[in-house]
Assembly symmetry: C2
Homo-oligomer: 461 residues x 2
């Protein structure tokens, strides 16, 4: 509880701050930001654009036919905005195909057949046209796997049953903790002699949705298939193993790793009127997993990035710096778009001063996660009061995003839009990541938050 | 951007603050709050309780058979928690019944029949067993109605087509602006000689859901029926009127206003160990509208209030003050529960020091809206940093809620839990306000926020 001396000092300090970031600026900026939110909420087009991307194009795994449709769609959308230039940036990408059949059945002495809700992990090998059969061992933690001798793992199927931790407030933290089980499960299990790996889907819900996602192999280690089962099936499998240590599975996957091929990042920019060589980048990724529609991941980010460019024109905002929208390819299984983009940027000696990625779902924007110098973080925090009327409060040092990550060079400030994360992993990488599960207003508020930040950076940096 | 002198002064000030609200307290409190969130997220029961309330009891309009089932359910739930006392508080309530048939059709020269998605407004009279027919006049604003002469309104049906304003960030502000059209539409239209009133549903979505809600009559003014149509039907009706000024409607409603009857608030309390006469109240309302399941409105608030009492026991927290949970009856169409409760409190000279209402949906908690003295507001704001790790940032002077409103006496501090509001009016008072549309984590986070605030008030006030 403040005493009066403290109150007065605080008041004087606030006066001091407003001299740094002048009152005139604040008024002008708050009016502009209000116009941006009005435009997004009253005339917003991102929800309709998301409908087109989800329903007309559909899911769009890198190198799939739909991914090229998505590229054409994104290019057309940016071209319609009459920017200064729109182009495709070629990149070499991996080409993984799921195949027709994916099936995983469990059986034990009590349950002759349990058919699970499953999905191959992205990048997995298939089962060579055969049904892979074997006994299954449940592992809750790497340490349990490491403690086992190779003989007892040999030719077994490892079930990595690591649930996400519900106590973590940011669901991304919980995802981060479990992600390595999906990424490295096949490598670690294979090193022990296992012939396949099953993971519990990375979600906080108890339901029947299987969630895919990328997995990796290591040179010199046998490639074994990887598959995810729904959380309810994970409970079932665990129960069956407890009942009967001889619980076995049958698995069939037809996935294939094909030779690398060519795809594209889609780029559009509006040249700066004063400092065209200073680039402010916004973007999300155009590719998605091949189940669901990639609505939150990352259709939302794609349409929010396009919307920012649209609003710039409709609000007649002429940026001082160059504003560039990048719809990245291949975030999900290789990040070749992000890496390729950064390579071009370096080769052409481009000066990116700021990059903002939106790839955490189309939910109510809560703030920004800033990967930059302490000074950059402080400078951005100074804008916080401008966002508070829009219930955007979170300004903290953190992480930008996968796509913009390769741009990191100690100078460019990388920022991630932080939406409310509570529902994200209900949908993420699953059949339920569809347009119907994205709320129009939440999506629009995100686009307004992005443009507001871009505007402030363009004007004040 | 801070200069170093400012930084030092701020640092000293922060030191100063922590002397007021001591470092020891802060550490202790932050540990307790962490335990509360852990309990809610790991062992939370409110989502399961909400399932029971929505699926076993269902919607529960005041004085309906299900409302008495809800009372029995709420009482049982509180009794299971082994509180110090649980009781029912009798109150006289209005008794409105919807009846079987509600239908509203439009027709004009181009469209012989358009059957709308409609719902009688709560409290409306019916159409006397007949079909009410007439021409319809569209009104966008009170001023348009007032500008019309009585002759041209006589025997017409008034269509109040006032959409909620999407530009307002808090959807409650937009609802507030439009609410009077639903509340007073029948009175104002009747005064002009109209024979029925149609309102556009209060929602920000374009869909086919009709949204009900309370409407009022005035003594001495003819009671005319009131009905809401979905936003898509509102577009349709508006278009038809533009095509043809002779657009007419047929309406049939079987609602009835029956004599007042008796119902109950459900109350449970844990007596304070040090100051039992100081009461901290938490609550939501047990009644709901009779379409959907009242899951967000206010099943969420009911189960969050019960959950707070449960967590107090499971975390072995012995409150210093008396913590009382009130499940109010009749918030939706009369607030007799809220008024009755306050009357008892006054008669028995009870000392409520703090009351927290949760009745804005089971969404991610964003903060608290505080209706209290400036000192109370400042005192609560001091707790803000304890909530920031849970992404709860909003602490501002505002409004508590309908149920606790009648307690206001210049001394008790009234507080409303503020969840994210973006999706609330997608569901509010409509058939889609069902359990499936409430996210488990969001609901649980709200319950943890409530108990955390109650804990801080109990300990520090």
């Amino acid at each position: 509880m403040l005493n009066s001396v403290q109150s007065i000092v605080i008041f004087l300090l606030l006066l001091g701050f407003s001299k740094n970031y002048s009152q005139t600026n604040h008024q002008e900026d708050s009016l502009m930001i209000r116009s941006i939110f009005d435009e997004a909420l009253i005339k917003g087009q991102c929800h309709q654009n998301l409908y087109e991307l989800c329903k007309d194009v559909g899911h769009r795994l890198t190198a799939s036919p739909a991914s090229y449709e998505a590229i054409a769609w994104g290019k057309k959308k940016l071209e319609e905005l009459k920017l200064d230039s729109v182009w495709l940036q070629p990149i070499t990408v991996p080409h993984w195909v799921r195949g027709e059949i994916e099936r995983l059945d469990f059986s034990n002495k009590n349950t002759p057949l349990h058919v699970s809700h499953c999905t191959a992990l992205g990048g997995s090998v298939g089962t060579d046209g055969k049904v892979l059969e074997g006994n299954v061992i449940e592992i809750r933690d790497w340490s349990e796997l490491e403690a086992m001798d190779d003989k007892s793992v040999k030719n077994k199927i490892i079930f990595l049953n690591k649930p996400m931790n519900p106590a973590l407030i940011s669901t991304f933290s919980a995802y981060g903790e479990c992600g390595e089980y999906r990424h490295y499960g096949a490598i670690k299990a294979s090193k022990k002699g296992a012939k396949a790996v099953i993971i519990r889907s990375l979600t906080l819900r108890d339901d029947l949705n299987p969630h895919t996602g990328s997995m990796q192999y290591e040179d010199g280690v046998d490639k074994i298939p990887g598959i995810a089962i729904s959380s309810k099936d994970a409970y079932q499998l665990s129960r069956m193993i407890q009942e009967d240590a001889q619980t076995s599975i049958k698995m069939k996957l037809e996935c294939q790793i094909l030779p690398d091929t060519i795809s594209y990042n889609v780029i559009g920019e509006k040249r700066g009127s004063e400092n065209p060589d200073e680039i402010i980048l916004i973007g999300g990724h155009l590719d998605s997993w091949d189940i669901g529609e990639g609505a939150h991941d990352d259709g939302a980010g794609v349409v929010q990035s396009i919307e920012t460019m649209r609003m710039m024109t409709s609000l007649k905002y002429a940026p001082k710096k160059t504003i560039r929208c990048v719809l990245y390819m291949n975030e999900e299984n290789g990040n070749r778009g992000g890496k390729g983009y950064a390579k071009y940027a370096e080769e052409y000696d481009e000066n990116h001063i700021f990059a903002l990625e939106t790839d955490r779902g189309g939910f109510s924007p809560r703030g920004f996660s800033i990967d930059g110098t302490s000074e950059q973080v402080e400078n951005i925090k100074q804008f916080q009061t401008l966002f508070n009327p829009y219930f955007i409060h979170l300004f903290e040092k953190g992480y930008g995003g996968v796509d913009i990550g390769p741009l990191k060079n100690g100078k460019v400030c990388l920022v991630g839009l932080v939406p409310d994360s509570q529902r994200y992993f209900d949908f993420h990488h699953s059949p339920s990541d569809v347009w119907e599960n994205v709320n129009k207003r939440e999506l629009e508020l995100g686009s307004a938050a992005i443009f507001s930040m871009v505007y402030l950076i363009d004007k004040h940096w």
